[in-house]
Subunit: 171 residues, 2 copies
Amino acid sequence: MNKCIDINCLFKVQYGLYIVSSTLDNKLNGQIATTVMQITNCPIKFSICLSKNTLTHEMISKSKVFAASVLSQNAPMAFIGKFGFKSGRELDKYKNTKFEQNITGCPLTLDYSLAVLEGKVSQTLDLNTHTIFVGDLLSAKRIATGTAMTYEYYYTVIKGKSPENAPTYVK
Amino acid sequence: MNKCIDINCLFKVQYGLYIVSSTLDNKLNGQIATTVMQITNCPIKFSICLSKNTLTHEMISKSKVFAASVLSQNAPMAFIGKFGFKSGRELDKYKNTKFEQNITGCPLTLDYSLAVLEGKVSQTLDLNTHTIFVGDLLSAKRIATGTAMTYEYYYTVIKGKSPENAPTYVK
């Protein structure tokens, strides 16, 4: 590691915690992500950054549609674990998860969700290990009131970790 | 506005508050931004999204170097206002601002800062009104302990607004 970089500083950068999802060939999948943000306002565009190793990345690459659910601070570790540390290649994550579908067909995750949004990919940026997907927002709906989960809260209060595929993973 | 989009949902997406800065031809400038995040971990890369209207955007486009300072929750509105609502084309924002320079020469803003980081642009993505700059992290240094300012805290507690150039601006 570069000695000019104090890794602890990286944890001062602020993120929410989201379930990013997609659909392909009538299959549904989703995963935890921190890297969701609005990047333009006219039109409203979002960017999402995912590891190329994940099934959700594969689905969004092919279907060009994505959804994101803003997680509430009261999302329990068991729920986060299902979406954050297991692959949709091994289990159907939406089998026991409440969701609805709207414009894109992506699962809009309702469990522990404050708001759901979905969009269509218009641009991508290849980062070698990860891809940034940029998409136009098609719908955004409020699900519940409450405080959003932040990565800092997840890391410092819940004592959660990052999986190896996460952009914020630290060895 | 698309009737499928509840604008209030956009405020549930979580961001920190940063001063993003650059240098060009011995001039220094910086601006408030929310759109700073780590996007890969090996190597560590960051992305920053800025409006094409801003002087900092112009400087980073040409110099290919950037810095970001993670603002503390106790940054006062007067300080945020100087960096968020005024243009470096009209005033020297670093005249009365404490900063240091390290590898890139960008001003690493120390006032109300928890940590400073800097990098070199390796890729860009043109979003028409804004640009995503992706860069390799070159240094990261802790400045102070404390709680980071979030956009939600700025918006709901300090009652701050977004300037028109912000990716999160809502008419």
